[in-house]
Symmetry: C2
Subunit: 319 residues, 2 copies
Amino acid sequence: MLRRKLPSPNALFTFEVVARLGSFSKAAQELNVTQPAISRAIAGFEEHLGYKLFIRHGRWIQLTGNGRRLYRATSTAFKTVIDALQEIGLQEENRDNVTISMSSNAVNHWFIPRLKAFKNNFPSVNLDFQMYSDDGDDLIQGIDLCIRLSYPKDKNLHRWAFADERIMALCSLGYIQEFGTLENPRKGRTHTLIESENSSYSMGEFFHAIGQKPLKKPKILKFSDNSNIIQAAIGGQGIALAWVPETSRLVIEGQLVPIFPQVVKTGRRYHILASNLTPMRPVVENIRDWLIGEMRSDHRKVTSMMRANAKLMRTGVLK
Amino acid sequence: MLRRKLPSPNALFTFEVVARLGSFSKAAQELNVTQPAISRAIAGFEEHLGYKLFIRHGRWIQLTGNGRRLYRATSTAFKTVIDALQEIGLQEENRDNVTISMSSNAVNHWFIPRLKAFKNNFPSVNLDFQMYSDDGDDLIQGIDLCIRLSYPKDKNLHRWAFADERIMALCSLGYIQEFGTLENPRKGRTHTLIESENSSYSMGEFFHAIGQKPLKKPKILKFSDNSNIIQAAIGGQGIALAWVPETSRLVIEGQLVPIFPQVVKTGRRYHILASNLTPMRPVVENIRDWLIGEMRSDHRKVTSMMRANAKLMRTGVLK
DNA sequence: TATCAGCCATTACTTAAGGTAATAACATGC
DNA sequence: GCATGTTATTACCTTAAGTAATGGCTGATA
């Protein structure tokens, strides 16, 4: 550890400037201190080392052989760090935007609640959300990270596992109070299923997966825009299927409750994708890691919450 | 200047330890401070830089991409300095003695008066004086620096000009008061010339050089050991020829005075010699430089003193 | 699920490392 | 000999950097 070999944190900086300028007084000017401060710092350094770094001759100083050797090493070392700082600084300056492509719902319901934490960790990042295109496997040029379902390994892509596709059936608490659960519906009340015109997973599949018979003659409420589905469910209009991470905050906050305790894994997996045709910037790597960490954390919370809800339902609190 | 790019002199040291250990708390232990000190130092560093070096995740930290880059540069830089310090330290440990060969008179009358200043500049050097051998041009093995007259470039030697051979005629003030000057001798008093049996420059040559007729029938006092010559002159026994640097301190102190204002350059030059068969240690280089500087300084002082004495003699003070 | 352990972040307070002002000492140039 | 400019030293001052106490967050465990 270098610090232990120096008498003070300032020693090397002071020494380098003195050695480079050949004058205590000039070094003092450059370091914005007075000349006695330099004199004492160098004297302390030499005492600590046990050998002289400079020969003094009246008003002149000259590096000793040891001083020259140390100066060469220090000069090289400092240049290494300065170059790195400059390189990083340039890269930071050129890093105005990070573009992330994910579904609008995921942005609204998963990402936006985390923006504060995101900005805390990445204060200088400007996020640019782009709607992802389901059509092709090629990333749209200029997108740093794309989060979507992914299957076989696509060409020219990095892939990092992000989340299993887990789906649950949700409705509002008010809905349950008004219509009862699926197992104990209120008499004379018919359940409403909120469906999506373009969803890749149907209510039927869900019921089958959880081992339940489908509802007989439910009312159907259908939307083409997925964002309406969650809003409708929040509004007590019916029961909707939802991607767990998209709605985890709503569940945690109690705006939506699972009508079944089961979470269905479709077997598909969301991945974070990035093109491997261009070097990945460090900041993008960091965001990726942060996203994965947040998802892991979120999963645990939701799992806890689901367990708690199941227990409550078993004890009759939500009957 | 690296220091200007950092928020504090400690920033890089703190960062390096944290990055290496992956923990603020462990870094605090290694640096002998408390964990909040590290926390604040790193936060200040990141604020100064404008980007994060670490991602925090509850109790865990991880270097960002920028942090990894800076850490690689810093680690390399610190290793450069540590290696240099170790190399220098090892060399210092192996540097018990510096051996200098010069005449006994020069040691007594030139070097020893400067030992305090020497030790000030070279606190860890142990000096070992060796009588030089006039016989051969080969340096005796194990001598770092040899100071003597030197002519054609000898083989296997470095040579640095040290001093012109300048000779002057000296006696004590008491002698002059008792015997008068050479131009105005006291009546009935015969001047005594102190000569060396093995000197390479005679009184006759001296008188000739300064354009004076030799003394008629002077008394002669002869010694085989040059150290006796100067002592005899100091003791008021006569007039001696002396190598200027050997006696400069005595002249400056007033123990000897020049009986002629002239200083004769013999055309020969003293050099500092060192073998070029082995690498020269930095400390030896530094001593050489110091010796040359001291000789230059001494020359000026003696020149001033000689001018002063000449003026005094012209005004009759030393008649 | 609650609790525990361990680490990072923040606040309030303390102090000594490192600064300055004044001045002495030294070397060079004129 | 004096002026100039630099380093070295002493006495004194102040704030940067430390600590103590405690809150917040995450992962592990019972």
